[in-house]
Symmetry: C2
Subunit: 285 residues, 2 copies
DNA sequence: CGATTTGTTGTAATTTAATTACAAGACAAC
DNA sequence: GTTGTCTTGTAATTAAATTACAACAAATCG
């Protein structure tokens, strides 16, 4: 937990004067790290020892040490301590908050992801006879995106966002086929059924879903992404971005496993687009 | 440029003693930020003023200020200096690199994005009679995702990834309709045509695309996202994530503009899923 | 309701750390 | 070999942070 978050969470245990200090610091974190203890005390209208005591309460060695911790918190980019969008946020505020919360979500995803599982998933995918991506709702667009990546690898790839098609496809699957089921919650009944059906037909089922969810239990192999979702907006946001990055990782693992010669193939796919595009005038991206 | 990088890059301009200081700091950055100037001087076997001069040479106000900058550099965590995936990277390396490069891309996107344009786009979207999202290839899944968000707002939303449908839809558009064209490069001919057609028919065309691209020139309003794309893999990766976050921002702006009562509506949409899902056993997400 | 204790806050003294001024030494150029 | 410049360290100074202690406020208990 970074210092800024710590200040917020231990707010209740502060005394009156300490709260004044906390308020000033939260309001001007950037100014704080460039201020002396005297300047900060003056801003908060308290004495210098009070500031010092405040720092100690936050498990730092003293004011200079506290500034160090604060600087690190800020570097991790938390201009908005509360990253949740609020009713009266202006465009500047909500734009920054959404970028920040998405980045924070990716960071926790990175820390929690199981490299071993990724490696096994890449193994399975590179050996697949056929790969199917299934998702519903918001996860359907992730499935489409996955198809857009994996079709380049010259492997049969399908993608369905229709439960009937998914079901038929699952029933027709067999040994060597890989089915990737994508669901943030992992509690969508239809998708669980499909995972079960695919498994009964000897397909390998990879789940990109929440750890220990009903869907996860139906899968051969689970890539869990426990990302804190901002539920205020009632829309999947960060979770879906993390899923996409995971798809990128699997696709990258796939290409690396296949070696450099294979990469030439990808270049061809990309070059094939040239005719449909306006030429670049210069080398800027 | 962060301080650590600065130390490396200005290595040539250091004197003999300053180099000693630089070496010690680069070797033990974590220890440095918790040391006094005296301790560091002793470690580097130089005098205290030498350390101070070293700090000044790096455009910091003095030793404490230098430590602050150093702390921030360390917090920003660049475990992989080179974030590009390489031939012989193992799963651990490429996973970390892809997460990191995606986060870095989002960070530059955040810095470069034009808040003013976002605000105008939200304006236009909230007043739209009908909203259409068009994308091709990788951008098609972004368009689908946008549809998945915006349909919740009780506004007529369509999404096409088929140029014939897009064309027909564009021709049928009229004043008050908003067409959102999504393309990373902004050089896909078909999509440019469609933007032009939509504009001829009095629709407002919002482009989520590269600044000053052919597509951008056809749009009423451009949300440019100049994200450094990792082209090694010949696949769109970071750009597409940035586009999704932009969609999230527009959707959020939309809901905020509509006020709190409208948010109840979104909750209803979300609650409607309950029947199709397994119940949560606890409150973990 | 008053006395006592506990906790909070500020003043002043002290200690510690960082910076400056200056002088000695090293090195290069003439 | 001498002069000038650049580098480095010593000692003095200044600035900053911390500690010790006293005054005050609030809460607890008789």
């Amino acid at each position: 937990m970074n210092v800024l978050e710590k200040i917020v969470s231990s707010a209740t245990s502060f005394s009156k004067s300490e709260r004044k200090v906390a308020d000033i610091i939260l309001a001007n974190p950037q100014i704080t790290i460039h201020s002396s203890i005297a300047a900060l005390a003056k801003m908060a209208d308290v004495s210098e020892p009070t500031v010092n005591r405040f720092c100690r309460r936050l498990d730092t060695k003293g004011f200079p040490d506290f500034k160090l911790h604060l600087a690190q918190s800020l570097a991790n980019g938390t201009p908005y301590v509360n990253r949740h969008v609020e009713e009266d946020d202006g465009p500047e505020a909500y734009t920054a908050k959404i970028f920040e919360s998405t980045m924070a979500a990716l960071d926790t995803a990175r820390q929690r992801v199981d490299i071993n599982m990724i490696n096994r998933a890449v193994d399975v995918l590179t050996q697949a006879k056929k790969i199917s991506f299934f998702g519903l709702g918001a996860s359907a667009s992730v499935a489409h995106d996955a198809q857009n990546k994996f079709f380049r690898f010259n492997v049969p790839v399908v993608c369905f966002d229709d439960i009937v098609m998914q079901r038929m496809s699952a029933i027709n699957s067999s040994d060597g086929d890989v089915v990737v089921c994508i669901s943030h919650t992992g509690r969508t009944k239809n998708l669980c059924d499909i995972a079960a059906i695919a498994r009964e037909n000897d397909a390998t089922v990879i789940g990109i879903t929440a750890y220990d969810s009903p869907l996860a239990r139906e899968c051969t192999l689970v890539l869990s992404l426990d990302v804190p979702e901002d539920t205020d907006m009632y829309m999947p946001m960060a979770s879906r971005v993390a899923q996409l990055v995971l798809i990128d990782i699997l696709a990258t693992g796939f290409t690396l496993r296949r070696g450099s010669k294979f990469r030439e193939n990808l270049k061809k796919v990309k070059d094939s687009l040239r005719g449909s595009r306006f030429e670049k005038k210069d080398f800027t991206n």
